[in-house]
Structures are given as structure tokens and as C-alpha cells.
């Protein structure tokens, strides 16, 4: 039986369930010292002086550094989407001249234990001349660091993309619809905060950082560059990771500091972030305002769409460069034809925590924008919202569909999709007409209940390539080494299933090594829903090469012609004689290694898609919203392990509900963050979560990889804001009411009172 397509139990779970997990804070080394960051208490101001004498004098303190002590370290560079003009906005590991958000690292303390480190951090005094913070990305740009460079303004870049004849689109329009839509500031909040242990081997000089995640190879190269080391002198090692979501594992100031300190202080250095720090230091995300204008015909077909949007980038531009805004700009049109499109995305710096990517970056925001537009069109023209979508959806016979613009430097080419078909299946699954009638009955009886449906296109499998090596071990297991990373998504199981599918070896006999820079030359890590597509395809290629090699080596041993040999259940079998030989046995008898490499290249991303359905009940008297039912329909091309995909989708839907209803980084006028603990930054819990149904389809396999697979990491979150907003409108009978997320009770109350 094929190993692909089965909901096999995860290989990863045993150590996690038996307490054998090794997370960042579990790493320790003899003689380690603890690092504590002194963070700016002020949102924006010029640094006059940083007083460290008192802290240095505290017994148990080993060193205290400010920017002056590490003046040789360059700022942290971009990993992705390097847009011209962004360089001056990069963050130094410790603030220089200015602080730009509450939480900006201004000094760092090293001490014998974390308690002393925190005591000492309190004794560091920052003399900062406060300036008026900029907290609104739609306001006119201001000086980034007025004294240092008065001409450098807080608008770092403008991303423009465009195609089609906009004038013609608007000239013949039956209606023009304008809207302003906003998605608030929230982010991925992994259960495990960040942390690292850096150790330099005094003999070899090799610096190892434990607690790496997401993109170990890239970060190794960056750290080496920043510290003036050769890449071979730096090793990054990933352990278990308690959640990534795009934010964890990027190169942050703290990672560079532990490594620099391990080299310069000559002792192992450990840092574990606390939750309060995490909520103001790790990347925030979303926070976009879109102003759109659409020209539509009488059927609701969008003839042309113009969008101007503002990304609140926070204090600096971090490793993601312009990624979020670029993806927002490129993917806003989603599943619809939209023959003319013009977008201008303004990346604006403010005095909040820097922001970066979070699960479905740019798509959560723009799906909200686009789907709100579809609902507005339906309301304006008196059409059924599903009909409006049908009229606009890209038909199957237009696939592959060339959008004519680029995303992340690759051409946006929708590889495959049966959008209308999935819409029909989804409506059938929920019993659309009956459900609508049922909700109408409940509304007549006095309940405010409603339904919202939103369509989205995701993207996955970002190239350029991925490499795996594979080798049969003496104990008859197979070791796969990949430069991909595991952030908890089930990489080991999925890779083992793909390998098992080719070699017939049960997944329990396959070991997947990931996130270790000393085990494989290149690696791209885990982001952009790329691992199953890219690494998975490389595994398939490697496994096929291994199979061919096994047969070739077995032929003389079995005294058979290779054409009569097959690989079954991990053994080479002779069709003629029935003789068999196991893989480890081939190694033993031939005296040769049985190994292979798989390299997979992809020039384009692929584009999974789906539909979210939300049913909500609003308690108007308290402005409360309860999600009664949630469904995600998703076409993944090919499902390697349906259980893992469902897990990804349900978890992502929970985060989406958080962003739609609960989670928000609120700042006061002084730029003080007001949500810096879980008492105020509200994550959804099991009480707030409805059961999430998943309609998983494989109707449109990707023609761009040998598995036909598309990514599944993000589609569960993409359309949540859009679907819930539509459902709330419907429940209240007020189309177009919701234009901003999250729909907090406070905000809903203000809307209802209007």
C-alpha cells in the first residue's frame, strides 16, 4: 500500500509526549552565563547617555555592553525581498543614537544567573531625549532619525505593480465602489518563547548556536558574516521548536548577541526570552490599511481594481525586507480575473515593534480586503455574494493563469485550480440554501446569526531549490538529511512517507535529520509553506536514485539482470528466482555505500486555494461574537498525510480567529504597548474555538513537482478575517459594517451605537 495519502501517526510525537523534548531553554553548557537585554522604555528618542556603572558593580555581573562596545557589528541584513532603499532602516543589534520602539535593545547584561542579570538590567539607566512618536502609517512621513539624517523619511519604499487598461475599466463601469479596510497589528505567538545557547569550542574555534529554528543555514551565514568568521566556523543546531509561524527563527539582535558574547567573553552564553519581552521584541505583523477603488459591471464583474495601502512596518525593517508588502501587492487579486489592476504599497516606519511575516503574510490582510469588496459589490448591486464570486473566479480552462506581475521575484503563475468546482462542493457540503433558510428562521426568532464565506488563493513551494541526502545505515534504517527545518509541522513524518512510498520501508525505519548546518551543505529551512513541496520532491528524487542504485548493486549479488529486479518492502526482489536481499545486506555484501542525493529546482511557486465558511452569533447587548461553526475547504493538490494537513488547518484557523476577534497590539499616544502579557494580548483558547471542519480536496495537483503537492501550512488562516467579518455583517443585517479587524467587543459596540 502506498505510504502517501495515509494519516500515519507522527514520528515526532514520542519524545514530545514522553518529556524527552529538547527546546531552546533545555540546552545548557558548563560555565554558561546568562544574558538579559535592557530594553528602551520609550518609543522614540535620542540616546544621550547609557549609564552602566552601577550594573557592572553588582556581584555576579560579568559584562555590560552598549552599542559602543560592539561598534564593529553591522546591522542585521535582509534575508528576503531586498528592495532598493530599505538599507538605512535596518536594525543594529543594540540601538545607536536613537531608540525607535518600546523594547528596542539598548544594552545587554551578562551575569552568573538570570536573576542577577535581571537585577543588573534594572540598574542600567538610559538617558533618552524623548521625541514625538509616529504611530500612524497613513500619516505623512516624518524623519526616521532627525538629528542623524533629517532627509531620511519614514517611508522606506513604495511597491508598485500594475497590469491592464485601467482607464477603459473605469470608463465603462456600471458602479464604482470605494472602501477603506484595515487589519490590526497582531502576530504569531509561539508557545515557546525565543532562546539560544551559544558555545565556542576553545580547541576548534567552532561556534555553535543551539536553539536555532526556521532558517539555520541562512542564519549561520549571516552570523558568520557579522562576526567576521568563516561559515565553517559557525554551526547552528535546531532542537525541538515550540511553534514558529514565520516569526520565530528569523535572525534577531539577541541571536547575534549570544554568539558575539560567546566569542568575546569566552564562555557559553544563554538567553531565554520572557513572555513580556516576546510580545514587544519578536516580530509583529499585519497592520495594514488599504484604500481600494473598484470598477464593476452590472453582473458584479470587477473590471478594474486600484489599491493604495500602507504597511505599518514598526521601528525598523528586519530580515523580511519588503516581503509582506510585496506579497500583499502581488496576491491581492486572489482567485479572480480582474483584468486591470494597479497597486501601490507604502512601507512606512513607525515607533512600534518592527514587523515581519506571520502565517499567510500579506494574504490574510488582502483576502480580508478583496472578499470584503466582493461582499460590498453584492450588497450594492443586490446580488447573491456567491454569484458575484462565480462571475469573477478564474475559470478552469484559463489555467495555468498568468497574472502578469511578480511576487518575491518570481512570476505569479497560478499552476492549477478548479475554483468553481470547489465553490460548488463547499456550498453542497454546508447545504448552503438550507443553512441560509435556517439562519433566516433564527433571525426571525430574534437571534443575530449569520454566515460568511470567503475565497482565497495561497502560495507555496518557494524555490529556488532544495537538496537532500539519503543513506542506508548498517542497522537497516534509512537516514535522510535535509536542510529544511521543523517548526512542529510534521516534517519528519511527511518526508518519511514520501521516502517510504518509493522504497517500501516502513516510516519507523526512516530517520530524518533536519536543521543541522554541519550535516548538509545547503538548506533553506521552513517558511512559505515550502517544505513538503521542495524538500518532499527532493526526497522523492533521492529515494528513486537510491532505489536504482540498490538494484544495480543487488544484481551481481542475486546473479540477476537489473531488468528483472524490483524494490519491494525495502528489499530487492528477483522476479525470476524470487530471491530477495535487504538494503543493509546489500551494503554489507557489496562493501559499497548505498546512498543518494536529490536536488529539486522550482522556478515558480504553486498556488493552492480554498474557501472559509464561518457561522457566527452576535450577542448585541454585550457586543460579543461567538463562532458557532467553521469550515475550511482546501485543495492541496496531493495530500501526503491528511491528518497532518488537518492539524495545520485547524491550528491556523484558531490563529485566524484570534486575529479576527481577539488579538491586538494596542499602543497609547506615547507609543507604550498596552498588550504585553497574556492578560491583555488575548489568544483564543479551546473555549473560543468552534469545531473546525475540513474539506480536503486533491482535484488540482500541481504540475510543477513530481508529487503534485502544494503547501498546507497557511491556508487555514488566510480567509478567517474575511469570513468572520462577512458573517457578522450578515448576522446584524448590516452589509459593509465591518471594515476593520479585530472585531473586538469595544469596536463592535462603537459600530452598533453609530
Amino acid at each position: 500500500m502506498s505510504a502517501i495519502g495515509r494519516s500515519l501517526k507522527r514520528l515526532e510525537d514520542r519524545p514530545l509526549l514522553t518529556g524527552d523534548g529538547c527546546f531552546a531553554a533545555d540546552n545548557r553548557a558548563d560555565g554558561q552565563v546568562h544574558m538579559r537585554i535592557v530594553r528602551s522604555p520609550i518609543a522614540f528618542g535620542r540616546i544621550l547617555d547609557i549609564e552602566t556603572d552601577e550594573a557592572k558593580a553588582l556581584p555576579g555581573v560579568i559584562a555590560v555592553w552598549t552599542a559602543a562596545d560592539i561598534a564593529d557589528l553591522p546591522p542585521i541584513d535582509f534575508r528576503m525581498t531586498r528592495i532598493a532603499g530599505l538599507e538605512p532602516y535596518r536594525q543594529h543589534v543594540l540601538a545607536r543614537d536613537y531608540v525607535r520602539y518600546v523594547g528596542d535593545p539598548v544594552a545587554v547584561v551578562f551575569a552568573d544567573n538570570p536573576y542577577i542579570a535581571e537585577d543588573a538590567a534594572e540598574l542600567v539607566f538610559c538617558d533618552i531625549e524623548e521625541e514625538t512618536p509616529c504611530l500612524d502609517a497613513t500619516a505623512d512621513p516624518v524623519a526616521f532619525m532627525p538629528e542623524r539624517d533629517p532627509a531620511l523619511l519614514s517611508e522606506a519604499a513604495v511597491i508598485t505593480k500594475s497590469y491592464g487598461d485601467m482607464e477603459a475599466a473605469f470608463a465603462g463601469a456600471a458602479a464604482i465602489i470605494e472602501m477603506e479596510l484595515k487589519v490590526g497589528r497582531h502576530t504569531g505567538v509561539p508557545l515557546e518563547t525565543r532562546g539560544a545557547l551559544a558555545v565556542r569550542d576553545p580547541e576548534t574555534g567552532v561556534l555553535t548556536m543551539y536553539g536555532a529554528a526556521k532558517v539555520p543555514h541562512y542564519n549561520r551565514d549571516s552570523i558568520a558574516r557579522m562576526l567576521g568568521l568563516e561559515p565553517e566556523q559557525v554551526r547552528l543546531s535546531e532542537g525541538h521548536v515550540g511553534g514558529g509561524f514565520g516569526i520565530r527563527g528569523e535572525l534577531y539582535p539577541e541571536d547575534v548577541l549570544v554568539c558575539a558574547a560567546a566569542c568575546r567573553l569566552g564562555v557559553p552564553v544563554k538567553w531565554v526570552e520572557d513572555r513580556r519581552e516576546h510580545l514587544m521584541a519578536a516580530n509583529h505583523s499585519r497592520d495594514q490599511v488599504h484604500r481600494i477603488k473598484a470598477a464593476v459591471d452590472a453582473n458584479g464583474f470587477v473590471r478594474g481594481l486600484v489599491d493604495t495601502f500602507y504597511t505599518d512596518q514598526g521601528g525598523y525593517v528586519r530580515t523580511h525586507g519588503g516581503t509582506v508588502s510585496d506579497l500583499a501587492a502581488a496576491l491581492l487579486p486572489g482567485p479572480y480575473l480582474i483584468p486591470a489592476y494597479h497597486v501601490e504599497g507604502h512601507i512606512r516606519l513607525t515607533n512600534k515593534t518592527p514587523s515581519g511575516t506571520y502565517r499567510a503574510p500579506g494574504r490574510y490582510e488582502t483576502t480580508f480586503v478583496r472578499e470584503r469588496l466582493m461582499d460590498a459589490i453584492a450588497a450594492r448591486l443586490g446580488l447573491d455574494p456567491m454569484e458575484v464570486r462565480r462571475v469573477n473566479l478564474i475559470p478552469e480552462d484559463r489555467m495555468p493563469f498568468d497574472r502578469g506581475i511578480e511576487a518575491l521575484g518570481t512570476h505569479v503563475l497560478y499552476d492549477s485550480g478548479k475554483y468553481h468546482d470547489l465553490l460548488d462542493r463547499t456550498l453542497t457540503r454546508i447545504g448552503y440554501q438550507d443553512l441560509k433558510a435556517d439562519l433566516a428562521r433564527r433571525r426571525v426568532a430574534g437571534e443575530a446569526v449569520g454566515l460568511g464565506i470567503a475565497f482565497f488563493v495561497e502560495k507555496s513551494g518557494l524555490g529556488p531549490h532544495d537538496l537532500v541526502t539519503m543513506a542506508v545505515q548498517p542497522d537497516d534504517t534509512i537516514e535522510i538529511v535535509t536542510g529544511a527545518a521543523s517548526v512542529g509541522q510534521g516534517v519528519e513524518t511527511a518526508m518519511a512517507q514520501i521516502c517510504s512510498d518509493v522504497l517500501g520501508v516502513p516510516i519507523e525505519r526512516i530517520r530524518v535529520i533536519h536543521g543541522q548546518t554541519d550535516r548538509i551543505a545547503i538548506g533553506f529551512g521552513a517558511f512559505a509553506s515550502r517544505v513538503t513541496v521542495m524538500t518532499g520532491s527532493a526526497v522523492k528524487i533521492a529515494a528513486e536514485a537510491l532505489r536504482d542504485k540498490a538494484i544495480a548493486l543487488a544484481a551481481p549479488l542475486l546473479q540477476a539482470d537489473v531488468r528483472t529486479l524490483t524494490l519491494e518492502m525495502g528489499c530487492v526482489v528477483s522476479r525470476d528466482s524470487g530471491a530477495t536481499i535487504g538494503l543493509a545486506e546489500i551494503v554489507a555484501q557489496s562493501g559499497k555505500d548505498l546512498d543518494a542525493e536529490g536536488l529539486f529546482r522550482a522556478d515558480h511557486m504553486n498556488y493552492p486555494y480554498g474557501i472559509h465558511v464561518a457561522q457566527v452569533r452576535v450577542d448585541e447587548a454585550v457586543s460579543g461574537i461567538q463562532v458557532e461553526r467553521y469550515l475550511v475547504a482546501y485543495d492541496v493538490g496531493r495530500a501526503i498525510n491528511p491528518m497532518l494537513i488537518e492539524g495545520q488547518i485547524v491550528g491556523a484557523a484558531a490563529q485566524g480567529i484570534g486575529g479576527a476577534l481577539l488579538e491586538e497590539f494596542i499602543y497609547n499616544e506615547e507609543g507604550q504597548p498596552l498588550a504585553t502579557s497574556f492578560a491583555d494580548y488575548l489568544m483564543p483558547t479551546c473555549h473560543e474555538m468552534p469545531p473546525v471542519e475540513v474539506l480536503l480536496r486533491e482535484d488540482a495537483p500541481s504540475p510543477q513537482n513530481p508529487l503534485g503537492v502544494k503547501g498546507a501550512g497557511e491556508g487555514g488562516i488566510t480567509a478567517v478575517g474575511a469570513a468572520i467579518a462577512a458573517a457578522v455583517d450578515d448576522a446584524l443585517g448590516r452589509p459593509g459594517l465591518i471594515t476593520s479587524l479585530p472585531i473586538s467587543p469595544r469596536r463592535l459596540h462603537a459600530l452598533l451605537r453609530r
Partner: protein
Amino acid sequence: MKPASFDYIRPGSRAEILAALAAHGDDGKILAGGQSLVAAMNFRLARPEVLIDINGTKDLDYLQPSGDSLAIGALTRHAAFHKPVVDGPLGPLLAKVVRNIAHYPIRQRGTFTGSLAHADPASEWCLVATTLDAEMLIVNAEGERRCRAGDFFKGTFTTAVGAQDLLAEVRLPLLDDGWRSGFYEFSRRAGDFALAMSLAALKLENGRITEARLGVGGVADRAIRLHALENELAGKAPSRELFEDVAASAKAAIKPSEDIHASADYRRDLIRTVVLRALTEAAA
């Protein structure tokens, strides 16, 4: 989020607790369930030099009906109220309310008296104590004194309990069989502190309200008992109109606090709703 340095002592008797409090004065702090204090220490918002852990004094953990009241000891956990603890309407009332306090694990540690001593404006037990006019027994090395809820709560996180005092016992009046209660709170998630809540108790005889208790919590610096509205309810037959009127008056009577989760305007409307729902449930 590591606490500042502190000393820790664990007295074995009430007398030792009082001696420790007397010895350390402003520098000492009682550790009961720790569900508020430890978090405050981790944020370094509280920096006691000496932590006086009362968890070793097991005889402070009791629930005792005595006379016309229920006596609650200084170590009685929230979870003790999950099932009715006394016959009559008070037991179910407390069981109904306790489910709204935090989450199951927190309720296993956090204490009833600790909540009162801590005096969070949105504490359910503070609302119960205020509405039912609880009596507090405050003791220190010098002696003891009693104080009613109306004089006990002084504002956010401040009460009549001084630095050397132990809140040793709280007494709630046992309600006789004619009483019925209703409680409603709105919070952003299950287990969160309420944005607004109301407790109503009505004594009904022959279809009329003979006595009423009505309180609102989570909307100001302390729970508020609405005496005037209690009088308004007394002598009347329960009805939708009556409750609507009383709820509207409650909304008008209170100047609510503001925070990131609720504006004053929003809280005003919440007050109306929670009072209406609590009264409606009480009369149902």
C-alpha cells in the same frame, strides 16, 4: 520576568504568621494561592522582601456554617465552591459564581480570602462579598477587629487589611429558602476578568420581592452595591419592565472605568445588560 530577591518563610500556625507579620511589617507579604502575587512578583510589580507562606497552616482551610453565616477560612481555595457548600440558596449561588473565576487549575490554588485581600476590581468574590455584605475578621499580633464589606474595600488593590494584618476569616450571610439569585458576567474569553458583571439576589414571597441585593463589579475601582435600586425592587412584583427600569438606573448611577478592552460608553451599556440578565435569572 524573574522576581527580585526575597526571603521565604513558612509559619506552621496562625500565631507564627502573626508574629512574622509583626516582625517584617511593610517588607513582608502573605503568600496564599499565589495566583495574583507570584505573577506580580515576576513582573517585579510586587517586591516583598519576605514572603510569608501561609499554606503550611492547614487549619486555615475551612468552611463552617455558624449561626446565620458561613465562615470561610484564609486558605479555602476557589475550587472548594465548585459544589454547593451549604444547604439553602447560598451554596448554589457560590457554585454558579465560582465557575467564572479564572480556569480550573488556578481555582485549585487561588483562595477566597486572597481574592478579597487582593481586591481586584473585577474579582467575583469581591462582588459577592460586597453585594451580600460579608463580614471580615482581620487579626494581627495586637488583636482582632471585624469590618463589613462596605468599609473593607478602599479601591483598586486596597482594603482595610494593613501590612501587619491577616485577613483570617470571611463570613457570608446564609440566605434562607426564600432567596433566589442570578449572576451574569461578560468577559472577552472564558476565564478572563469580567468587563462587567452583576449579582442579584431576590427574596420572593407570594410573587413579590420582599428584599433585594444588587451589585455590579468590574466597572469601577471596586464592586458597587446598589442600595437605592435594592429599595426600588423591594415590595414590587418581578417583571420585565421593572428590571429594565432598574437596569437603566444602574447604568445611570455608575461612572465606569475605562481600559483597553472597554470604553466608558461601552461599559455603561454593559452595566445595563448584566444587571438585567442577573435580575432576570434571579426571578426565573
